[in-house]
């Protein structure tokens, strides 16, 4: 005969086991994916990766043009997305902290944050690439900037709101105009947080593939300018992985390894910046 107390203890223990199991289940996939990327990626690494162009089918080569193209598009995205995002975040935190306007923009921003990236690519294709008549690295950079935007808006908004009110009051008491208070006092105080937002956004866009399929597409050759189709690591990984050639598969794994390393590195770095900021506060 099981007493009520025993039954309750048993249910409790079963729940502990189940949720611990769920956590192990989650960590198991992380381990499996990381090990796979590490194993195949390390095996495919070589110096040729950074010195040679993407090869034609079946032959050896590197990913130099793809790395360069990705870097260029990320720089374009930061150049467009970061200033607009920081300004929009400032607008929310400093001008519309508790207004309906602010609430609406925050709501839309949060939706944009989770909106499918492939749709952003289609949008840029519709308004830009179709008018241009050819695929373009600028389009890729703009699409990535749009994906980056909500991340920067949100972190800037949050970080500015976290600043103590007496910082603003002290600055205003000195008769400093508002734009100077924001740019010289608040931005400086929240710089670590805002930087984290930009880093997180870069981490998010550096592996993005879907929007680039409709904008930058790919380019087998070296292209120094972003005004034409531009090679980039994610699309190269996609095309090479889907191909039947072993040498292309190896390159795709090498690219995947480096992108993963880069993204996870950024994620860890931005976390440590945030943690340091918290300790100081």
């Amino acid at each position: 005969m099981v007493t009520l107390r025993q039954r309750r203890q048993l249910t409790n223990r079963l729940m502990v086991v189940l949720s611990t199991g769920a956590t192990l289940f989650g960590l198991f996939w992380l381990g499996w994916i990381m090990l796979t990327t590490l194993r195949y990626g390390l095996g495919a690494l070589s110096h040729r990766l950074f010195t040679e162009m993407t090869p034609p089918p079946g032959s050896e080569g590197g990913l130099l043009n793809a790395f360069y193209g990705s870097l260029m598009m990320i720089v374009i995205a930061i150049g467009i997305g970061a200033p607009i995002g920081i300004l929009a975040g400032t607008f929310l935190a400093e001008y519309h902290r508790h207004t309906h306007q602010g609430a609406v923009i925050r709501f839309v921003n949060d939706i944009l944050l989770s909106a499918p990236s492939i749709v952003i690519g289609l949008f840029v294709y519709e308004v830009l690439i179709r008018r241009l008549g050819h695929f373009s690295g600028w389009g890729g950079g703009i699409a990535l900037a749009i994906i980056m935007l909500p991340v920067v808006v949100r972190t800037t908004d949050e970080m500015l709101q976290l600043l103590p009110a007496n910082l603003r009051e002290a600055a205003f008491a000195l008769g400093i105009p508002r734009w100077k208070v924001v740019s010289a006092v608040l931005y400086r105080a929240a710089s670590a947080g805002i930087l984290t937002g930009v880093l997180l956004a870069v981490a998010r866009i550096s592996g993005e593939t879907a929007p680039l399929l409709f904008t930058a597409l790919n380019n087998q050759y070296w292209s120094g300018s972003p005004s034409g189709p531009l090679a980039n690591v994610p699309v190269v990984i996609f095309q090479f992985a889907m191909s039947p050639y072993d040498s292309w598969h190896a390159l795709a794994w090498a690219g995947a390894f480096i992108v993963t390393l880069f993204v996870l590195g950024l994620a860890v770095l931005s976390r440590s910046i945030l943690a340091r900021g918290k300790v100081r506060q």
């Binding site: 989650g26 960590l27 992380l30 909106a115 749709v119 879907a210 992985a241």
Partner: protein
């Protein structure tokens, strides 16, 4: 200049550095800049929806409601219907939610109620790293590692044991080729677990400790505290988290493109290759050789955008109610 001696204030103003903008107008310019950046966020969302509706207008005008009831996908005769990709998106996302929700709930409970304190931060970070891994890596891992694993170990067992069951068995028919809805759903589940977990963990942490302590003081077990206090208190946020995960799953592209199989046929079995809206776009966009083909693809994109927007808006509204209650409680 000459009468400056009679007006001391003039010298004061004169000493101030001359600028091309006074402070008041500089303030106005700055606010205008910030405001236009803020409204750009709104504008992007509207412009994206409108431009896709515009791009898909040929398909909507030609096929009308038939676009949503037809299973055709015929590039040669230029007849397109959205049923197969919509079905694939719905089915793969449903599988993902069915797997991810209980797991995320378990992880969130583990992180907030069970794990010793020193373990919480590292495990939390590890789970969040799952969200940082680019989706193309999931896709590659899926294609080269998980698909062979499914076809050798999981699918033969499913076909042998669940296949003969009448009714349910129809979902598990076919050859164990590894790709298909089930594989895509499982990979989607892994991808959305960190998003759902993060929201659940945060709202569980926000439950007032007085309520939990009271329940414990009455002699409740940890599980009873969770079931009778934590879950009822956070119900709408938990549902919001699920919708957030659903929104992510619906639009996920690269991971499913690798493992769905790009087959434009309506199959009931979860082990057969299929397609989803996002995978169709990724696979066929560069191959679209006619205006109608392109327009149909963009129309598909419009449908996907609309559906995810509604899903995410529901998620956000559910989460907002909790935040507002919290703000009032303080």
């Amino acid at each position: 200049m000459t009468d400056s001696i009679n007006r001391p204030t003039f010298t004061l103003q004169h000493r101030a550095p001359s600028r091309w903008l006074s402070d008041t107008s500089a303030d106005r310019v700055f606010q205008l800049l910030a405001g236009s950046a803020g409204y750009l966020v709104l504008g992007v969302l509207l412009a994206a929806a409108l431009s896709m509706a515009w791009g898909g207008r040929h398909a909507f005008a030609t096929f009308g409601w038939h676009f949503f009831t037809s299973t055709d996908w015929d590039a040669v005769n230029k007849k397109f219907g959205a049923v197969v990709p919509i079905y694939g998106t719905v089915v793969s996302s449903t599988i993902a939610i069915a797997i991810a929700v209980p797991i995320s709930l378990g992880v969130a409970i583990f992180l907030t109620e069970i794990a010793p304190r020193w373990l919480r931060a590292p495990v939390s970070t590890a789970i969040e790293l799952l969200a940082a891994i680019p989706s193309i890596i999931y896709g590659m891992w899926g294609l080269f590692v998980f698909v062979p694993f499914m076809s050798e170990h999981i699918q033969p067992w499913l076909i042998a044991h669940l296949g003969p069951i009448p009714g349910l068995g129809r979902l598990f028919q076919g050859a164990p080729i590894g790709i298909g809805m089930l594989t895509a759903g499982i990979i989607l589940a892994i991808m959305i677990i960190p998003f759902i977990t993060a929201v659940m963990r945060d709202v569980f942490l926000a439950v007032p400790s007085g309520l939990k302590d009271g329940c414990l003081a009455m002699g409740s077990t940890t599980w009873e505290v969770i079931r009778n206090v934590v879950l009822p208190y956070t119900r709408s946020a938990v549902i919001g988290a699920i919708f957030l995960g659903l929104g992510r799953a619906l639009g996920e592209t690269m991971a499913v493109t690798f493992v769905l199989g790009n087959a434009h046929e309506l199959k009931l079995s979860l082990l057969e290759p299929g397609n989803s809206i996002a995978a169709t776009l990724a696979n066929e966009f560069t191959e679209a050789d006619s205006d109608m083909y392109l327009s149909s693809l963009i129309a598909l994109g419009f449908v996907l955008f609309l559906v995810t927007l509604v899903t995410l808006a529901i998620a956000k509204l559910l989460l907002l109610t909790v935040q507002q209650r919290e703000a009032k409680g303080r």
